[in-house]
């Protein structure tokens, strides 16, 4: 009896405790994201800081598998939408903006003066004159190279396209793949195309092409592919790249079986895991092809948005404003190993980050997002298949371009 009496008392006490907690109830903020392990840890730290500053808000982060997220976002936006969701800038967010799935957050931009602090990304976050999300990080693309492979072939780091091609011949003699890539997932090939086109025809033309304003059978596009063929036809690109994932190609570079790799800065972590150090891994900007063109670069931006079905919009906006601040972006990107978008933030000490920051802040042509973010999804898919086919069978170039042109006629109506 005494025991049950005690437990009843305990029970009442517990109930009372629950009641007091319910009085100081927290508002929850549901956040769906697709972070890899390292970024996830960085974001959890930032969220902890945010919760400490706003004790009445409880951020519930639901992390998804990276690839699965891209398809599940459509389901949860229409069915059971969170208060915050990760996505990408540029044309990639257009379907959600146009169908009214993302909330217009121009007020967050004006209230926090983000137009100034996030100036570089404002264009890619704007559709119809309104802003639809807040960018928190971006990273440069360029050529990562194995310094030992350069020593082994006895060549210098090139600055022009002609030098790059000359080097390739020497790499081939030394039994090293001049350029490696793994196009099984298609997108790594798009990085090469983007740079070929940016360097051959410039940023404006590249943006017109991805926006569907220029024909794929245009002479200038053919010029791009002609330059690209100088790399493909003699067999300077890793054979069988269509069966390789990008990590497989990364290990070729690590082992010194390949010299150069057109990649985004996120690959540095993979190279270093594989044993490369700042002494063996090098970074250079993609060499100049057409002399005198303003230099365009590629820097995909990752963003956070408020879905239209969000239940806690006020706190979501508070969170976005917090993520946009200079200090938070400094801290976040230090952990991510990427570049902060806020121009008041500090860039990490890592030499590759410094190089990327230098590269992007001096790009006088413009900053492209990436082929699959600048072009509409359907065009991106068909385009990237075409790039892959070209890198296997360069003789099919005319047929590929005609196919892309046909797709352009249908997709951009």
């Amino acid at each position: 009896m005494t025991l049950s009496l005690k437990s009843t008392l305990l029970g009442t006490a517990a109930l009372a405790l629950l009641a007091t907690q319910a009085v100081a109830q927290q508002r929850t903020l549901k956040y769906y994201a697709d972070f890899d392990p390292a970024p996830l840890a960085a974001f959890e730290a930032v969220i902890a800081d945010f919760e400490a500053a706003n004790p009445d808000i409880d951020v519930v982060l639901q992390n998804f598998d990276h690839e699965g997220y891209k398809t599940s976002i459509r389901n949860f936006l229409t069915a059971d939408s969170p208060d915050l969701a990760n996505w990408y800038a540029g044309n990639r967010m257009a379907p959600f903006v146009n169908s009214g799935q993302f909330l217009d957050i121009s007020d967050v931009w004006t209230d926090n003066n983000l137009g100034e602090s996030l100036a570089s990304a404002k264009g890619s976050m704007t559709i119809d004159g309104k802003q639809w999300g807040v960018p928190y990080t971006y990273y440069q693309w360029g050529i990562y190279y194995n310094k030992d492979a350069y020593k082994q072939a006895g060549v210098e780091v090139p600055t022009t396209w002609a030098e790059f091609i000359d080097n390739c011949a020497k790499f081939k003699e030394a039994g090293i793949d001049c350029l490696t890539t793994g196009t099984k997932a298609l997108w790594p090939g798009a990085g090469i195309f983007d740079y070929m086109n940016l360097r051959t025809n410039g940023y404006e033309f590249h943006m017109d092409l991805t926006a569907g304003k220029v024909a794929w059978t245009d002479e200038r596009v053919k010029n791009t592919f002609a330059e690209w063929a100088k790399l493909v036809e003699p067999g300077y690109v890793t054979a069988n790249h269509a069966a390789l994932d990008w990590q497989d190609a990364a290990s070729l570079l690590i082992q010194g079986k390949a010299a150069n790799y057109v990649m985004g800065n996120f690959a540095v972590a993979v190279f270093k895991d594989g044993g490369m150090t700042n002494d063996t891994l090098g970074f250079m900007q993609f060499p100049e092809i057409t002399p005198g063109l303003p230099r365009g670069e590629e820097a995909p931006t990752d963003t956070i948005h408020i879905p239209a079905g969000a239940k806690n919009v006020d706190d979501a906006k508070k969170f976005l404003a917090y993520i946009a601040t200079a200090d938070v972006q400094t801290k976040l990107n230090e952990a991510l190993g990427q570049l902060p978008v806020n121009n008041g933030s500090k860039v990490g000490d890592d030499p590759f980050l410094q190089a990327g920051f230098e590269l992007l802040s001096t790009a006088d042509g413009g900053i492209a997002q990436f082929f699959d973010r600048d072009a509409p999804a359907e065009m991106a898919k068909i385009g990237m298949e075409g790039f892959q086919e070209f890198m296997v069978k360069p003789e099919n170039v005319d047929r590929i371009l005609e196919r892309l042109e046909k797709a352009r006629g249908r997709i951009y109506k």
Partner: protein, 311 residues
């Protein structure tokens, strides 16, 4: 059907002072028992089929408003290279997948003997069917992988240059079918093994007395008795070939440059994948795939009905 038609007539001749349920009990009872099944079938099979056909006349991205297109999706299909690639690959799948039936039979005959530990051998042969298709796909992808794959290195050792099967548009579909055959042969084998258990020993005995052996014995005595097993093996193999989605998705994702696509994968790509979301176009592909399947399904149903009537 004939039974249910005559019952009300008999009931009608009797005095009708019973309730409606009592009077029609024999006619209604089957429907009551069938109702849950019919309801489920209508909701999960019939309705989706009609909805897909309906959707195939629209342009819809899954989020915004639908636009009526009429037959435009089908017109576009007729002019779509990727569609013909998929169709062609589907036919290759259908033809080569059929190898699973004779191969399964052969292994079943081979294993149908009483040796020490035969059960272990049988279960080892059956093993590939038990593991998930995803795992089968991964194993074969590594098997074919350039630079470190066993098959690649073997070819390199024999011929001097390795072949990256999954990166070559000439071989990729065959490479995937080979992976698919592995579990499918095991499936056919198990079907035949159970069939062989039911082969009448007295007929085998009688045939042996008449001097039949070897291939003649197999062809004229054993195989006719295995007809039910053969029928099921062909049905599951045809269906397996037509819905060959998982292996394509795991091993190549339709690549290189879409050359290993099949219709089910192309449908998924257009309607649901990362760069797709053309629901209407995907639905149109699904309708075509459905039409192809209908040919086989109708044939199977026709044959089953015929056999049941004893014709």
């Amino acid at each position: 059907m004939t039974g249910s038609a005559t019952t009300p007539a008999i009931a009608g001749t009797q005095s009708d002072n019973r309730g409606i349920w009592k009077r029609n009990q024999r006619a209604l009872a089957p429907w009551v028992f069938l109702a849950p099944g019919i309801f489920m079938f209508a909701l999960y099979v019939i309705y989706p089929i009609i909805a897909s056909m309906w959707l195939s006349f629209y342009d819809w991205d899954g989020l915004g408003a639908k636009t009526w297109l009429g037959l435009d999706n089908y017109v576009e299909l007729l002019d779509d290279d990727a569609f013909y690639t998929s169709l062609y690959n589907n036919i290759i799948w259908l033809v080569l997948y059929m190898l699973a039936v004779p191969a399964g039979l052969f292994i079943a005959l081979f294993l149908n003997q009483t040796v020490m530990g035969i059960r272990i051998y049988k279960s080892l042969f059956f093993f590939p069917f038990v593991i998930s298709q995803v795992v089968v796909g991964l194993i074969f992808a590594w098997f074919y992988a350039p630079n470190f794959g066993l098959f690649y290195n073997l070819i390199e050792w024999i011929t001097g240059t390795g072949i990256a099967v999954l990166a070559d548009d000439r071989y990729v579909t065959y490479g995937i079918i080979a992976a698919g055959l592995w579990p499918q042969i095991a499936y056919c084998m198990i079907l035949y093994l159970t069939g062989l258990n039911n082969v009448a020993p007295d007929q085998v005995e009688a045939a042996r007395l008449d001097g039949a052996k070897g291939f003649r014995m197999l062809w004229h005595v054993i195989l006719p008795q295995l007809r039910p097993a053969t029928f099921i093996a062909i049905v599951v193999t045809v269906i397996g070939a037509l819905r060959s989605f998982d292996l394509v998705s795991i091993m190549t994702d339709g690549g290189p440059y879409g050359s290993s696509r099949v219709l089910s994968f192309y449908m998924y790509e257009q309607a649901l994948s990362e760069y797709g979301f053309r629901m209407g176009y995907g639905a149109a592909i699904a309708v075509v795939l459905f039409a192809i399947m209908m040919i086989f399904i109708s044939f199977f149903i026709w044959k089953m009905v015929r056999d049941e009537r004893g014709m």
